[in-house]
Amino acid sequence: MKILVCMKQVPQKDAPLKLNESGTWIREDVSYEVNEPDAYALEEALRQREKHKGEVVVITSGPARAQQVLREALAKGADRAIHLEDDKFVGLDAFNTAKAFAAAIKDEQFDLIFTGLQSDDYGYAQTGVILAELLGWPHATIIMQIEKTDGGIRVKRELEAGYFQFVDMPTPAVLTIQSGINKLRYATLIGIKQAKNKPLRKVTLGEVQPAVGENLQKIEKLYVPQKTKKTEHIEGAPGEIAKKLVDKLRNELRVL
């Protein structure tokens, strides 16, 4: 099985975010990490390759810093990487990001493409499904299990409120992977060493430019959300906080 994993670099979960001067994006001087669901997508691809042989290729778009995500993936066992490298990729909407990816892989033949189910920055939950439509492939979202079958694959979709569903589908296909589908591995020292010699293809904006159009939607303004709730801060030494809280629990919330 030849599997492509789409990965994204996002600000670290607890990184304090600052707005840029125009208030349309964050300042770039934060710490980044791999988008968590994408890490699960990579892990699943590696496990599928261990079962069925084949190749795992990772792809990302973004400035030079985004290469770190690919290096980590290669260290964990991915075979090669594709980096659409340009600052401008950060501002593309999901439609155009998918178009750029489709253009970058037009000469490849994958059996499966995995993405995380959504990103921790935009949170659109769209790029994978859009990519499937652009390629003319079937897709399934929020996947918790993948088995190879005679004619294709059987996947387990997570539905809401604890419900699930198995879906049989042909390949090639795009799957968006849910966090928790597997247990993540760590990169080994030897893996990190080997990663340095694995192929990493860089794709410039110019190469995919013909496929990319104007964004179909635009962030007019990014801002710190206005609080709708009045929050009371409880401060002091831990012992004091505990006493104050118990007072609230008893006299205001009446749960004691």
């Binding site: 964050i26 439509e133 539905l159 879906v167 959300p225």
Partner: protein, 329 residues
């Protein structure tokens, strides 16, 4: 002719998903702000069209084809694309459910259009519609506009509008059945029966007090600390998704979009940052106490009582104080 807003309601196995009422409310609010006409569509379950027609909408379409059952993204996208070709809408609004997430990006792409997904509100800024959505896991919000041609697609997050505020119509709206033709070969996925994993052993929806843990609990062995607090309060223990993903607590303790939705008297969140997926499962709680060392954690946006600090410092004395209070001292 006035522009049209189309609300596509969601049905599961022939029953209206209650979140659809919220989307109707959203559609009514946008119609009021723009003067556009509000219509609704039911895909593949004509029986619920009458239920929707009781609300204040100009018309309800029942989009029908034998191929719409069971749900597949291929059939839903094909049906709605065909429908929108014959019944143009300016804005198409849907709830941001797992099902909509599964087909609406495909539908919009097939039409060369875009979806502003997971919105929590909208504004009419001098004739320009902008949609508010959370970004960076709720730490920031963005106002997003369409820069492409109609139809525009927008999905609203669970709880963004009040379903019980959906206005009833003076009289029932007309229902029109629209048969769509989905060609053989369009549907590629073969879905099996929907099922529930192992019986839900724990029903957190009935709990009056919930102590929930998130990543801040750091290690599996620390869960016991939260358990002690839950026991002292006579409450139940719950968790955010990463804790259950790690296997530190069983999946039936999970709160959020993929777990249970709860509304206890007290929700005590320990080391939970408050990602959107978690918040949609607990924001209806009567009171929320949050303990987190990150003062910018989104959970504080919805907390009634905020404690910025290390949960490992705060929880032990809290357990003692609760025990003392219960003992009546």
């Amino acid at each position: 002719m006035a522009d049209t807003i189309l609300v596509v309601v969601e049905q599961r196995e022939g029953k209206l998903n209650r979140v659809s009422w919220e989307t109707i409310t959203a559609g009514q609010a946008i119609a009021a702000a723009t003067g556009w006409t509000l219509e609704a569509a039911v895909v593949g379950a004509a029986a619920i069209a009458a239920e929707v027609a009781a609300k204040k909408v100009a018309k309800v379409y029942a989009i029908e084809s034998p191929k719409l059952e069971p749900y597949t993204p291929d059939a839903f996208a094909a049906a709605l694309k065909q429908f929108l070709g014959a019944h143009p809408a300016k804005l198409v609004v849907m709830p941001h459910t797992y099902q909509v997430r599964d087909f609406v990006p495909k539908l919009a792409t097939a039409m060369g259009r875009t979806v502003i997904s997971d919105c929590i509100g909208f504004k009419n800024e001098g004739g320009k519609l902008v949609f508010t959505r959370q970004m960076f896991q709720g730490k920031l919000a963005a106002d997003v506009s369409f820069t492409s041609d109609a139809p525009w697609f927008a999905t609203f997050q669970n709880g963004s509008f009040r379903g019980d505020k959906a206005e009833a119509g003076a009289s029932a709206a007309p229902v029109e059945t629209v048969n769509v033709d989905i060609a053989d070969g369009v549907i590629r996925n073969k879905p099996q029966e929907v099922f529930k994993e192992a019986k839900q052993a724990v029903d957190l929806t009935q709990a009056e007090v919930i102590v929930a843990v998130g990543r801040g609990i750091k290690e599996q062995k620390n869960i016991d600390l939260a358990k002690q607090l839950a026991d002292a309060l006579g409450g139940d223990l719950a968790a955010s998704r990463p804790i259950c993903d790690s296997g530190w607590l069983p999946m039936d303790r999970q709160i959020g979009s993929s777990g249970q939705t709860v509304a206890p008297k007290l929700y005590l969140a320990l080391g939970i940052s408050g990602a959107i997926q978690h918040i949609v499962g607990m924001k209806g709680s009567r009171a929320i106490i949050a303990v987190n060392k990150d003062s910018e954690a989104p959970i504080f946006e919805i907390a009634d009582y905020a404690i910025v600090g290390n949960l490992f410092d705060i929880v032990p004395p809290l357990i003692e104080e609760v025990k003392k209070a219960k003992a009546g001292t």
